[in-house]
């Protein structure tokens, strides 16, 4: 990433939300939307630009679950583990997916940065439990097999073509 390009992008995001501390979460969300994570250089530049200490920004970025300091995959799979989904067996979906993607304990993103797998607490589609959200689209009444099928489509590059 070119430093000047990154600075221009951060400038635009700050401009959009306003250069004040109350906008910081929106700004971080904007940066994350741009890069799929929060790059260290961007945060350092932001701290300088907004005259807020880098440690404070780091504190905010690490507090909220949605922010990531590590690069995330191109496709993000969120497995809902809200109460309704948990009761209707969401855990086996996660297990199957981790196995399918060869993700060891503690890792959520594949080495090729293609897919990130996250467990989230509730997507609000409890009647269709268990649900999985892939890149913002909710898939209802999922099973380990159906989820593995989705992953295969992503790997083959045919995901989204007929969905």
């Amino acid at each position: 990433m070119q430093a000047s390009e990154m600075m221009a992008r951060v400038d635009a995001i700050v401009e959009e939300h306003g250069n004040q501390q109350s906008s910081i979460i929106s700004i971080l969300q904007g940066i994350q939307k741009e890069y799929r994570y929060l790059p260290e250089e961007a945060l350092n530049y932001l701290a300088e630009k907004m005259d807020i200490s880098a440690s404070k920004i780091y504190g905010i970025a690490t507090f909220y679950e949605n922010f990531s300091l590590e690069p995330k995959g191109k496709h993000i799979i969120k497995i809902c583990d809200g109460t309704a989904c948990h009761i209707r067996k969401s855990q086996p979906i996660l297990d199957a997916l981790r196995k399918e993607l060869n993700l060891p304990e503690g890792r959520i993103t594949t080495d090729d940065l293609l897919i990130t797998v996250e467990m989230v607490s509730c997507l609000g589609a409890c009647s269709l439990a268990p649900v999985v959200n892939v890149d913002g689209v909710v898939y209802a009444k999922m099973t380990p097999n159906k989820t593995q099928e989705l992953v295969r489509k992503i790997k083959e590059g045919t995901f989204g073509e007929d969905d």
Partner: protein, 623 residues
Amino acid sequence: MRMTSSKDLYEAYEKFKVDFEREGKKIIVCAGTGCVAGGALDIYEEFQRLLEKDGLKDQVELIKETEEISLKKSGCPGLCEAGPLVRVEPGDILYTKVKVEDCKDIIQETFVEDRAVDRLFLRIDDEVYPYQHSIPFYINQSRLVLEDCGEVDPESIQDYIARGGYLALAKALEEMTPQEVCDEIVKAKLRGRGGGGFPAGVKWSQVLSYESDMKYIICNGDEGDPGAFMDMCIMEGLPHSIIEGMIIAAYATKAKEGYIYVRAEYPMAVKRLARAIQQARQYGLLGPNILGTDLSFDIHINQGAGAFVCGEGSALIASIEGERGMPRVKAKRTVEEGLWKKPTVLNNVETFANVRNIILKGANWFKSYGTEDSPGTKAFSVTGNVNNTGIIEVAMGTTLREIIYDTCGGIMDGKKFKAVQIGGPSGGCLTEEHLDMPLDFDSLTEVGAMIGSGGMVVMDQDTCIVEVARFFMNFTQNESCGKCVPCREGTKRMLEIMEKIVAGKATMEDLEVLEELAYTVTETSLCGLGKTAANPVLSTLKYFRDEYIQHIVDKKCHAKVCEALKTIRIIPDLCKGCSKCARICPADAIIGKVREVYRIDEEKCIKCGACIESCAFAAIEEV
């Protein structure tokens, strides 16, 4: 079109009402999160395509008929289980589990042949329900807040105004002083629907009483309880009702700015609210000099970033200010020193959505619903092992039995009811003995549960209550912000013990420590999250102590849910001694000789179940 007086609004109301009622033939596609996940948007597009001339070009007769049909999206009518839902008017005909392929038949048969598509009716047991309002799911409900959810297009301010939207605001501005508005809300005894149950009118009166150059209205839409989604339903289905409630609150308390804090997991709610705010500004209902009066008020949306604790008032305020969303020690109440230390009204989505009816129809009308000390209605999201999951709104004081058996159609697969977890990770469980207890804020607190935000998870006999308690403990421990020690450390130790229990490794001393910790965390935590974190454990211990003991002493999970407590055994009478299981076992736990009965060494068994699948004689079972 900017409206500059109440007169403009009444005129718009008359006009839009005529338009709305003239719609006549219409197809209403539910566009709530549940139905969208089931493909509702594709269905909407298919109808759109079909209703355009091209879609049916070889059927001249049909084109003539379809010219008068209007197509619209609506908010969630609640019956998510049967989605995607499509309703056809006139006639109140409800089609369930609709697919794209059904669209053509719906148009052809309903509008041209004047008969309905039988196969898409809702069926429960052997009964067929062609009309939405004949479905038992709706019969026991009192839909006051959600009345128009499923009727109006959430993206249309015209629809909202046509149904009397913003008339409550006009009434407040024209006929009432700010104090009178506060008094009416106090008189209605409207209590906070977010779970606290604090009287909203008292908050408003207090904020009004403080002199300040700036005051704020905050709407808490950070509905984080897993299994609760009624606020999402209101934000997506009736965004203007929240905005109207907030503007009335601003008038009543002389506030100038408002914030709606929405969970990041609800992108559609954010989109619909943003659109509604923009429309309200265009119509002169937000911004300077609302409806030509001195009232100036505007609303911003703040998106959460995935922290459950931000549903707690002071943490939410910290988050809006751009800090880590941690609760604060409050020397003064939010009404006096809230957002940026200014007087602040902080209410939940459903609370604001109740305001318009109270102002329009009066406190006495509101009190005709519900119980003496908890008037009005409450929206619940009912999920888990019931037949009709979804969003319901019932009068306060309705019993669990009415909700589960009458409205929601009873337990799935005819199983036995075991318990209801109410109020999410802060709540408790209710059992058979509570089925006939009227539910309201106070009755629930008395039995160690709480209404919370209104999430209700119904569990049948096959649910392991101890594992459910562990699940909630895991949730709160994850979401503990770490600021105060009792919650940060206490929930962690409690979770460890819960994990030991479900793994069959706990002792009775552990149970004692668990209980002691539960009381300590409850009494000494800083904020609501910690103070209520132990509720699921305490209430399940109260009603299902024997199940804890079965896990600890007998090392048994009767619901057969806890992996570690399962035992796999070979049924001697059925075993033919083929040795297949012994060869397949990855842990070498199956011992025996060919042509003799094999047995499983429980010490070595990892309970993977590979042997069960491999046995050709069904001689291996899980107990």
